[in-house]
C-alpha cells in the first residue's frame, strides 16, 4: 500500500491502529485519511487496509 506517498509492505487487512503501532506513531497526535476519506479515531481498530489503499497520516506542525 501507499503511505504518505511511499510504497510500503504490510500484512493484508492490517488495521489502521496496527499500522500506526508498527510505524511507532502516537494515535492521539495524528489524523488518518484512507483513500481520501478521513477515518474516525474510534474506527482505527476496525478499519482494515489493503494493498491498494492510499494512506495519509497527517499531523500539526508549526506554520501559517
Amino acid at each position: 500500500m501507499i503511505v504518505n506517498g511511499e510504497e510500503l509492505n504490510f500484512t493484508n487487512n492490517i488495521t489502521v491502529s496496527e499500522l500506526l503501532d508498527k510505524l511507532n506513531v502516537n494515535e492521539e497526535t495524528v489524523v488518518v485519511e484512507v483513500d481520501l476519506e478521513i477515518i474516525n479515531k474510534d474506527d482505527y481498530k476496525i478499519k482494515k487496509l489493503s494493498s491498494t489503499s492510499k494512506v495519509e497520516i497527517i499531523r500539526y506542525v508549526g506554520g501559517g
Partner: protein, 256 residues
C-alpha cells in the same frame, strides 16, 4: 471596552502569531508568553514515517487557552483547502481555519478566487473561516457575504518582511469592511504592526518576523507592545497634519 470579537469569541490580544519557520518547537511557549498572543496558527503536514523527531507534536507547546487556527497552507485550490480543513477538524482541535490557497510559488500570493470558493463551502459546514487574501475590496465584500468571520489581507508577500506595501488598499478595506480586518503577511518589524493598527486594523499577524529575528522572544514582546501602542493611537484619534493651503481665488465671495 475595546474588545476584539471574532465569531462571538472575545480575543485578548490583537497580535496573532504563526508558528512556522522556527528553529524548533521548543521556543514556541516562550514566544507565546512574551507576545501574549492568543490566536496561534499551525499547519498540517504528513508525518515522516521514518523520522522519530517528526513524532514531536507542536500542540504540546501551545497552551490550552490559545485559539488554534489551522492554516490550509499547501493547498493550491479550493478543493485542497477544504480537504485540509476537514483534516484539521478531525484532529478535534477546534474549527477555526485560516484559508491560504497559493498556487504561485514565486511570490506566494494567494488566489482570491479559490479562497472565496473554499470559504463558501467551509462556512456552510460550520467552520470559523478567516481567509487570507490579496487586498481587493470586491473580494473582501464577497467574503463577508459568504460568511467569513474576518478577512486577512496581506501587507506584502509572505516572508518578505517588507511592511505595508499595500497600504492604500488596506486602508480602503479597513474603512469599508465591517468584519474584523487582520493584516497578515509582510509584517517585518514591530513598527509595521503599529502602523497597521494605527490605520485601524483590528489585529495583525506575524510569523517570519519572529522566526528570523536573532532574538525571537524579545521581538515577540516588542510586537506585543507595538500592537498595543498602535491600537491606542488609533483610538485616540490623533490630530491631522495640515496641508499647506495653496493660494487660490475665493470661491464664496459672491455670498457677501
Amino acid at each position: 471596552m475595546d474588545e476584539l470579537v471574532i465569531a462571538n469569541k472575545k480575543i485578548k490580544s490583537r497580535f496573532f502569531i504563526g508558528t512556522g519557520k522556527f528553529s524548533s518547537n521548543k521556543i514556541v511557549p516562550d514566544i507565546i508568553k512574551s507576545s501574549e498572543a492568543q490566536v496561534i496558527t499551525v499547519a498540517l503536514r504528513r508525518i515522516d514515517i521514518h523520522a522519530t523527531e517528526s513524532k514531536d507534536n507542536i500542540l504540546n507547546y501551545i497552551n490550552k487557552d490559545c485559539i488554534l487556527v489551522a492554516n490550509t497552507s499547501g493547498a493550491r485550490n479550493a478543493e485542497e483547502a477544504i480537504r485540509l480543513a476537514h483534516l484539521a477538524k478531525a484532529t478535534g482541535c477546534g474549527n477555526w481555519v485560516k484559508i491560504e490557497v497559493i498556487s504561485d510559488s514565486k511570490y506566494l500570493l494567494p488566489d482570491n478566487y479559490e479562497t472565496l470558493k473554499a470559504t463558501e463551502t467551509l462556512v456552510k459546514e460550520g467552520f470559523v473561516v478567516l481567509p487570507y487574501i490579496s487586498p481587493d475590496l470586491m473580494d473582501a465584500k464577497r467574503l463577508v457575504g459568504a460568511g467569513a468571520s474576518a478577512v486577512m489581507p496581506l501587507g506584502a508577500p509572505i516572508g518578505t518582511n517588507r511592511g505595508l506595501k499595500t497600504k492604500e488598499l488596506l486602508k480602503i478595506i479597513i474603512d469599508e469592511i465591517d468584519i474584523p480586518v487582520v493584516v497578515d503577511a509582510g509584517i517585518g518589524k514591530p513598527s509595521h504592526a503599529a502602523e497597521a493598527m494605527e490605520m485601524g486594523a483590528d489585529a495583525v499577524l506575524a510569523n517570519t518576523a519572529l522566526a528570523t529575528a536573532e532574538n525571537p522572544v524579545l521581538i515577540a514582546e516588542a510586537f506585543k507592545l507595538a500592537v498595543q501602542a498602535g491600537r491606542k493611537a488609533f483610538l485616540s484619534k490623533p490630530g491631522i497634519g495640515k496641508e499647506l493651503a495653496s493660494a487660490s481665488s475665493p470661491l464664496t465671495g459672491f455670498l457677501r
